[in-house]
């Protein structure tokens, strides 16, 4: 989601992004520390944080009742944004391919993206179901 609006430029919102970003980075670094990547192996830590973050963000952005800009910035731009990573994901794909594990690289790339989309969609649908809102898909008119 781009669409950062004008209210998100104030300093309290920036501090919320910093705090959420710190928490997200800590979570990602802790998982990397606990599940260090092995040569030619599946990058489980990045895989896990990216999928968890996609599901959590799908859930969050589908909710229509935000408690305020600060908690929104903390959770979405901060926590989910920093918990997940694109640069390490791409680097892992390239490293796997370069080390001769092309099939692992392709499988990792494809499952990350497909499961990420699936989880974001499922979490979003689940949230809309809970809040009783009509899904965006149900509006052909």
């Amino acid at each position: 989601m781009s669409g950062v609006d004008a209210r998100e430029t104030s300093w309290d919102v920036r501090l919320s992004v910093l705090a959420g970003g710190a928490l997200g980075t800590a979570g990602r670094a802790a998982l990397l520390w606990g599940m260090p990547p092995s040569a030619g192996g599946w990058p489980w830590a990045t895989f896990a944080v990216n999928l968890a973050g996609a599901a959590l963000l799908g859930w969050l952005v589908a909710g229509e009742h935000w408690r305020g800009e600060r908690s929104r910035a903390f959770l979405t731009h901060g926590l989910c944004g920093a918990l997940t990573t694109f640069s390490a994901f791409q680097l892992e794909v390239v490293s796997l391919a370069e080390a001769g594990h092309a099939s692992v690289a392709v499988a990792y790339l494809a499952t990350s993206v497909l499961l990420g989309l699936l989880l974001a969609s499922a979490a979003s649908a689940l949230r809309r179901g809970f809040t009783g809102r009509r899904g965006a898909r149900a509006a052909p008119s």
Binding site: M1, A19, T85, Q90, L119
Partner: protein, 127 residues
């Protein structure tokens, strides 16, 4: 945990937080200047982050410096979750072609930029 361990965790977390703030600022700046149905701000953030991550890795920096740049700063700067929900939202709005573009362009563009960064970094490190 050793004191060096505490310092490096603290450093990672601070860098990740700064990366997250940089993402929000750059996303906002790009989205304000270029109007598009595609989330171009996040595309720019992830593309530039992939290039820089490749570059830092290619330079063969000291491990602590590479962790600070890659896991900390660029890890917090780039994002997977916002990319996924951006594509999901386009698809849910019925803009399937744009959703597909928003998935495939970052995948192939990101890989190309990562490789480019790696090659440039290695060239500088080796030359």
């Amino acid at each position: 945990m050793s004191s060096a361990g505490v310092v490096s965790w603290f450093g990672l977390i601070v860098l990740g937080a700064l990366g997250a703030l940089a993402r929000v600022e750059i996303d906002r700046a790009v989205s304000a200047r270029v109007k598009s149905a595609l989330p171009l701000g996040i595309l720019a953030v992830n593309g530039s982050g992939a290039l820089l991550a490749g570059f830092a890795t290619g330079l063969a920096l000291a491990p602590w410096l590479l962790a600070g740049a890659g896991v900390g700063l660029l890890g917090g700067y780039t994002t997977f979750s916002t990319w996924m929900t951006g594509a999901q939202r386009l698809a849910a709005d019925g803009r399937r072609l744009l959703a597909m573009v928003n998935v495939l362009v970052p995948v192939f563009g990101g890989l190309a930029l990562t490789v480019l960064g790696l090659l440039v970094g290695r060239g500088l490190a080796g030359g």
